[in-house]
Amino acid sequence: MIPREWIPTRTTRTHLAFLALPVALFATFYVYPIISSVYLSMHSWDGFSPDMRWVGLQNYKTLLAQPRFFNAVLNNIAWVAFMLIVPTGIGLMLAAILDRGIRGESVYRIIFFLPFTIPAVAVAAIWRWMYEPTNGLITTVLDLAGLGWAAQNWLGDPAVVNASLMGAVAWWTTGFAFLVFFAGLRNIPTECIEAARIEGATSWQIFWKVSFPLLWPSTIIVLGMSAIDAMRLFDIVWAMTQGGPAYSSEVLATQMYDLAFGRFEMGRASAVSVYLLLIAAVVIMPYILYMSSRVQDSEAE
């Protein structure tokens, strides 16, 4: 006999029906490729020939012994930290300023969103000029400002290249954080703000005590997406430096690409991607879960 509580109610049945198609798509387009990646990662395979040799966990062990692999992992973690703080922080600041009703608001709104619409390959080409170490715009502006000593070999110095890439990415992606925060701020009932103002709060206080807590849904989306984009970062790094010079700007996704197609080591590349998944799961999933439960709690209140 089936226990009564196992028989789905009409609501549950509808819910399950709603989930059917998305879950089917997910199983086909995500689960199957991931399983095949795990399978490939246990082989030595060049990616196109019929002979595939079973090597067990050898690829995973080899990677763990390579400084190159750890460098990419550390770079990914640095990217997560950067993406959580910088584009998000700037986006929030710009949204907060604009939300106060500034003249020319709509123009600013377009300007801040514009870079986000540009394809990665064009962003890379534009920023290769910006970072040209002797005649590029950044070096030129620093020279004019008497700060010539601060100019760097932006993309050619292994110690500087990651920071340079991050600058370009901040320019590229801040528009996303800005957009979501701006929408979130507009979504806050004016009564809350008015009430606080009548009580004599400064705009600084209003922002941090009233608006910011009400921005949780926006914040979750922006932070979650930033962390995820940072983990699977690929095209901008590949288009600007291909992970160079000498692997210094490499992240896991570019390393995977280089192994698979630069060196015909498909098995090892798959192992990198499985590691990427695992690391991302460890770093990001708890965060996403925590954030989602926060939403549920806040409505339950």
């Binding site: 196109f48 050619g156 197609f261």
Partner: protein, 424 residues
């Protein structure tokens, strides 16, 4: 799941997909998507279309470079719908796909075009795998020339360097006059191509091939000496911040007269011309020290994937047309590269092209042509060599040198154990 089940499943899916697919239009995949490269490719395809009676070819651009094309090919091979022909690099690039059973040998085409006569021996060597030809060369560029700004050389009264001493003199004169002596650019290839000149100086042609065959170790005294020569004579000449520039940005510096010399593949001449900087007036070129009388070259070929007979027959027509003097010139002239076919008349070339063609035929006559080592080595080793040499050029310390040597030697031992080297 066993391997065979897995591959079987893949093959089945491939069959399902390809059964409904009839090819009436034959694709030629390449990554020459821009500028004079695209113009050359389109001219070649147009010419072949005018020659082939019963087949029409369309160029399909895979944006990117050899790495992106490999990715695309891999997918296509596994999915059972490769193109009729594609742009491939030479030597190991062919070997890898031959070993995978993905390429169709072209002895018939080779015989028809008289491949053994129209291509120099050095060129033939890198398109034959196990004695069988697998590609028709169509795009050859020398990579052992130094391009220089004529005005700067005149202004400083500099002689064109012919050996390491005169090269060092030119460097220091340019440097004293406030110019950047020698340009270079960031990336896996450019430092490596420069390094070939000290390498050949020390090990000679014989040693160069020994490295390619895995016979001469990276821990050998010769290789170490070559790194030292590179460190003493070239690296100090490099322009400030070279590693942060793309090759076109460095080429701009030469055009604008802030950098005196630039050792780069012959394609830089096409870039100069496009920028209105003319051969013989704005720029000129000389063979890098240690490679005088020799030619180090990079070359692309057209390869034919294994596939249905009709497709191969069409691809063969394409290759025959591409190998003819007309087809070769159709590509080489707009692209600014050399035609590998020796029957192409030298009068088709511009100033730089003619000089380079002369260099190449002189070197061929002495059998002193050296294919790009990057593609002679097993793929993973060649790629690592490029990365390590760039690393050394950025930081030429003894510590880096030791790491470069041990990394490369480790990979050489691994490749030896796998019998991956080829006796080119």
């Amino acid at each position: 799941m066993s391997k065979s089940t897995f591959l079987g499943a893949m093959a089945l899916t491939a069959l399902l997909g390809s059964s409904a697919y009839a090819q009436d239009n034959f694709e030629v995949w390449h990554y020459y998507a821009a500028g004079s490269e695209l113009a050359g490719m389109n001219a070649l395809i147009d010419y072949s279309n005018s020659q082939a009676k019963d087949a029409k070819f369309t160029g399909v651009v895979v944006p990117g470079n050899v790495v992106e094309l490999r990715r695309q090919l891999q997918t296509a091979f596994l999915g059972g719908r490769p193109p009729a022909a594609y742009q491939s690099s030479m030597a190991f690039e062919l070997k890898a796909f031959v070993d995978g059973g993905r390429l169709h040998p072209i002895p018939d085409v080779w015989e028809q075009i008289k491949g053994d006569e129209i291509f120099p021996a050095g060129v033939q060597r890198v398109v034959k795998i196990g004695g069988q030809p697998y590609g028709v060369p169509f795009d050859l560029s020398l990579i052992n020339n130094v391009f220089y700004n004529v005005k700067l050389f005149k202004e400083l009264g500099l002689e064109v360097p012919t050996d390491w001493d005169s090269f060092a003199k030119a460097c220091s004169a340019l440097s004293k006059a406030g110019y950047q002596p020698l340009g270079n650019a960031g990336g896996t290839f450019w430092s490596l191509y420069n390094f070939y000149s000290p390498l050949v100086s020390i090990v000679g042609e014989e040693g160069y091939y020994k490295i390619a065959r895995g016979e001469l170790g990276f821990d050998s005294p010769e290789f170490s000496k070559a790194l030292d020569l590179y460190r003493d004579k070239m690296i100090p000449c490099y322009a400030k911040n070279w590693s942060g520039k793309t090759w076109t940005q460095t080429a701009d510096d030469v055009v604008n007269g802030s950098t005196g010399m630039f050792m780069m593949g012959a394609w830089v001449a096409a870039y100069f011309e496009q920028a209105g900087f003319k051969g013989g007036e704005g720029f000129d070129l000389f063979q890098a020290p240690g490679t005088v009388g020799k030619s180090v070259f990079q070359m692309d070929v057209l390869a034919v994937p294994a596939g249905p007979e009709a497709t191969i027959a069409a691809a063969n027509q394409f290759l025959v047309a591409a190998a003819s003097p007309e087809g070769q010139a159709a590509f080489a002239v707009p692209k600014g590269s050399l035609a590998p076919n020796v029957k192409v008349d030298a009068s088709v070339y511009n100033y730089a092209g003619a000089k380079l063609a002369k260099q190449f035929s002189d070197a061929s006559a002495k059998d002193a042509v050296l294919p790009n080592l990057f593609f002679l080595l097993p793929t993973a080793l060649g790629t690592e060599l490029g990365n390590q040499i760039q690393r050394f050029a950025i930081d030429p310390s003894d510590a880096t040198k030791a790491e470069v040597i041990s990394t490369l030697e480790g990979l050489r031992q691994e490749a030896l154990a796998n019998k991956a080297f080829i006796a080119w």
